[in-house]
Symmetry: C2
Subunit: 371 residues, 2 copies
């Protein structure tokens, strides 16, 4: 069990990572959340169907808290709409939840984005806690306080900053995670290494083979090794976020790979998983760095090799359609007529650069494997 | 022109009250909002149709800011739905508004609640400013930072705290305000007097006849006298809100009359105007105070006389149906099994009391003109 404190003053909380029993989890939640008047448990319906860990966890919560109710959300990105937020908040009102209620998310990043946003706006704000069930959510959605849903015009275009009271990452949930989703989750771990942690990046290079192996070959793979890697990635995010809680500056380096990534994800109608899109977006951002003479070609190729070795897609060049470029226009990281990009000069370092929209289009259009 | 500063540290802003030309208004907005990359003007459609002041104001904004776009919202409470928030935010994305954009509300409290909430969640938060066009909005919606929309289960059940950058209350908008709405707006002024400003309460008693007269008889009524009364009510709210920005404690006295008021408003399917419902709710809260030996009968009758003299409804007894009592159950001011009420021992003072739900039902059921 690894505990990573997120030191945000009055909104400080802990991220716990490891094998966690339902009883331990519920006990920690009591310590973190005090005495809520009710608990709204929002569960990814798919996780609810396949994971044997959901029902015992909800039962453990019901044994300790009053008015524990469960609502299963449409699996994955489908829950990230204002209409679904309407259904959740109407259900909360009908269930009698008041300002003293606690929202608990059990699911991937989509569910915690949804649950956190519902908690942020229900009665103008009630607390929430996250049980991430995917590798991506453990690494990415558990820190930062970003919540929200999608619009037709793009991903995460409405939302709120709302910090959880606790994040409890039970690695047991990963047993029923589809291999493709597990692999996709590694993209954010690679990102953490690339922007801020050379040692993590090198460790991933060393362990790429075992990390990419099917679950049955990773048996003793040992929760400890995986927990260590997840914890390192979480730590990167914690360090950046606590230095800059409202994303006015440095925090933006966490968007490495996300500007193009979001556009690809959105244009694919979410057939690409978030981590897959970020993998492609990182290759695009590295190529932008190469074009601007910030990133050595060798660094881009090294990162590309690691991503490919982990089983992540890297063939971004053939995907940069005009429609994808168009989507970058409405991306929220655009400011006026330029787009803020994160460039990586060398693994473990990152810098922010505003690139005029016209130049982005032209550079991305020229991007190619040999550029 | 009266300027009331709202001293909220980094979120401080001014409320300006008086006759304001479009040019003055736009100039103030430049001073308050800096250099936005675009301005999303959200207008109450009815105000847009009847008031000659909207078009010149939008034109004055367009002369000073880039990408000024106007969207007319369904008039009144009809704009306070998550579906309408979805339409506004999709429109904002389609209009190319980025994080540097400013949202401007021109309308009553419903429009500023909608616009403030859209601003709070669009790209996780952009600034906004308010041009209140009703007396109620000038007095009530311009201070406090409460934004939000309704659910089927009740009013204002989802929302956010989001402070405006500026509030500019041009009394010229009141010329086209229907008399019933103008009268309703006086309820929040009476409330301010009752909970915190004896001098304001007495002034209202003295001026009740002229305040309730039709517009054509109030000619020289003079903006100054009205501005003074509005400013006094705004000042009460500012003092309470700045002492307690997140409504953890004392701020709740502003809910005087609102617990029963919201239930009545909701149960009437919003045929009752907010101010009318608050007038009725204040009489109910005063009667609760009488039942608990906190409020002298004479105080309740004095308040009732003032409200009636201003043309506000006071016959709450015949409206307290079981359905209305049921609605208090989901009201957000309920905590656990009790409801927080504001009681007024004497005009100009208020105290908070948690009353068990069962007692509320029994007291309200017994409430009558002779109680």
């Amino acid at each position: 069990m690894i505990t990573i404190p997120v030191p945000l003053g009055a909104r400080a909380y802990d991220v716990r990572i490891g094998g966690v029993s339902p009883d331990e989890a519920a006990t920690w939640l009591v310590a973190a959340a005090g005495a809520p008047t009710g608990v709204a448990v929002l569960v990814d319906a798919q996780v609810g169907r396949v994971s044997p860990r959901v029902a015992p966890l909800v039962a453990a919560l019901a044994a300790r808290f009053p008015n524990v109710r469960r609502r299963d959300l449409p699996a994955g990105e489908a829950c990230k709409t204002l209409a679904e937020i309407g259904r959740t908040t109407e259900w909360m009102a009908a269930s009698g939840f008041d300002r003293g209620a606690l929202v608990v998310a059990i699911g991937g990043g989509a569910v915690s984005d949804h649950a956190g946003f519902a908690a942020a706006i229900y009665l103008r704000g009630v607390p929430f806690a996250i049980f991430p069930t995917t590798l991506l959510a453990m690494v990415d959605a558990s820190v930062g306080g970003k919540t929200g849903v999608d619009l037709g015009a793009g991903k995460n275009l409405v939302g709120a900053f709302h910090q959880p009271r606790a994040v409890i990452a039970d690695l047991g949930f990963l047993a029923t995670l589809p291999p493709r989703e597990r692999t996709a989750g590694l993209a954010e771990v690679v990102k953490a290494g690339l922007i801020a942690d050379l040692a993590l990046f090198e460790r991933l290079e060393e362990e790429a083979v075992s990390l990419s192996a099917p679950a049955e070959h990773r048996d003793g793979e040992n929760a400890t090794r995986l927990a260590t890697i997840i914890a390192a990635a979480v730590k990167v995010k914690v360090d950046v976020v606590t230095a800059d809680e409202r994303e006015s500056g440095r925090r933006a380096i966490l968007n490495f790979g996300h500007t193009v990534g979001h556009a690809l994800e959105s244009e694919s109608a979410y057939e690409l998983l978030h981590g897959e899109a970020v993998s492609l977006g990182m290759v695009a951002a590295l190529s932008l760095g190469v074009s601007r003479a910030v990133t050595p070609v060798a660094v881009r190729e090294r990162a590309r090799r690691l991503l490919a070795a982990l089983g992540l897609p890297v063939d971004v060049e053939r995907r940069l359609s005009p429609a994808v470029l168009e989507r970058i226009d409405v991306d929220k990281k655009r400011r006026g007529e330029s787009v803020r990009f994160v460039l990586v000069p060398t693994p473990g370092t990152a810098e922010l650069t505003d690139i005029p929209l016209a130049e982005v289009r032209s550079l991305l259009a020229r991007t190619g494997p040999a550029a």
